[in-house]
Symmetry: C2
Subunit: 215 residues, 2 copies
């Protein structure tokens, strides 16, 4: 399996969203130019990105939408359902446990862990929640390679270390902590703090420019 | 208020997490080098980023941790609490409504909207949920500038358009849709789909390399 460039990977879901929308609108064929306009990516880039999916369009006619959707989903491994587990059943953890999109996108949470004793043995969205004491034992038995990290910042590094020590090769990290892990571990960060930082500052800059405070 | 570069803004919360951790460990002073090691950012970059906060460290001694925390929080506008509203009370919307971190980071959700009739008039985490019919009317009365978008993909663009038509200047977009909006609107995307795409593909690439399929 050839490595696809990071930025191409990040753009592929955006193309998919556009393709789903074209399909819902009743279209059968689409040009790279139309995808480009809709996703705000330059058409040369769209063509280059799509070339990684192996699908070849017909000049002046474009791509079959269904074919392109299937090719991109295959590229993103959304057809194979991969099992994973989640640690930290707080608000965010629960949101992910109930998030239908995950399953559609090839990720299935088969177990959850939390340190709160009152959660042990309960189910949420059909997923069993285990106490942290069972973490190491179950990890090695489940043969699961992907862990979702939604614990408080303070315990993020410790939990990540335990994951890696028990065979996890990839961590989807929703904490704002920069995890220090071996180089061969795949870490994908969903950093809401960074995003909120940009948002808050830009809004403050804008409101101050438009309504300068009195000196 | 001077504009801070995007990448600096995105790194500041990471420094903050490190500083909170140093503080919890009982430290009073910290060097840019220590922050660099901990956050995996080059120390020259750390120094450059910190210079935007206006705090000047003492050579060979470093920065007072408390002072640096305050300066970064001020930079990120986390001291002023800004009101916002949320549209789309699904799993993700509820997670954000219950997410204590938001409030700490200067964002307060004062109202939520959803199209499901059974949610209208109910409360979640102390926040009232209004029906979409009241959206336009309430938006113009609340004078809120920031909207959080957690609706299904199909309605993302429509809801965003209505937000902008009613005075919203910034949208925190949790949908995978690339919103087409006027240039002066601030849009911050938390794109879990992109992140999951990278994660899934990298894991597939890795497992295929380590266990090549039989031909």
């Amino acid at each position: 399996m050839d490595a696809i460039p990071l930025l191409t990977l990040k753009r592929l879901p955006r193309y998919l969203e556009a393709l789903y929308r074209f399909k819902r609108a009743g279209l059968k064929m689409v040009s790279a130019t139309k995808i480009a306009i809709f996703t705000d990516v330059h058409m040369t880039q769209v063509r280059k990105d799509l070339s990684f999916t192996g699908v070849v369009g017909t000049p002046k006619i474009g791509h079959k939408i269904d074919e392109l959707i299937m090719a991109i989903e295959k590229c993103l491994n959304w057809n194979d359902v991969t099992s994973c587990f989640l640690v930290g059943v707080g608000h965010l953890g629960k949101a992910l446990m109930g998030y239908q999109e995950l399953h559609k996108k090839g990720l299935r949470i088969i177990a959850a862990f939390d340190s709160k004793p009152e959660l042990a043995g309960t189910y949420y969205q059909g997923i069993q929640i285990y106490p942290m004491e069972k973490f190491t034992n179950l990890l090695s038995r489940l043969h699961v390679h992907i862990g979702i990290l939604t614990v408080p910042s303070e315990s993020a590094q410790d939990v990540a270390d335990t994951m890696v020590a028990n065979g996890v090769i990839a961590i989807w990290n929703f904490t704002p902590v920069h995890l220090a892990l071996p180089d061969d571990i795949i870490v994908e960060n969903v950093d809401m703090s960074s995003s909120l930082a940009v948002l808050s500052r830009r809004v403050a800059e804008k409101l101050h420019v438009e309504n300068p405070p009195f000196k």
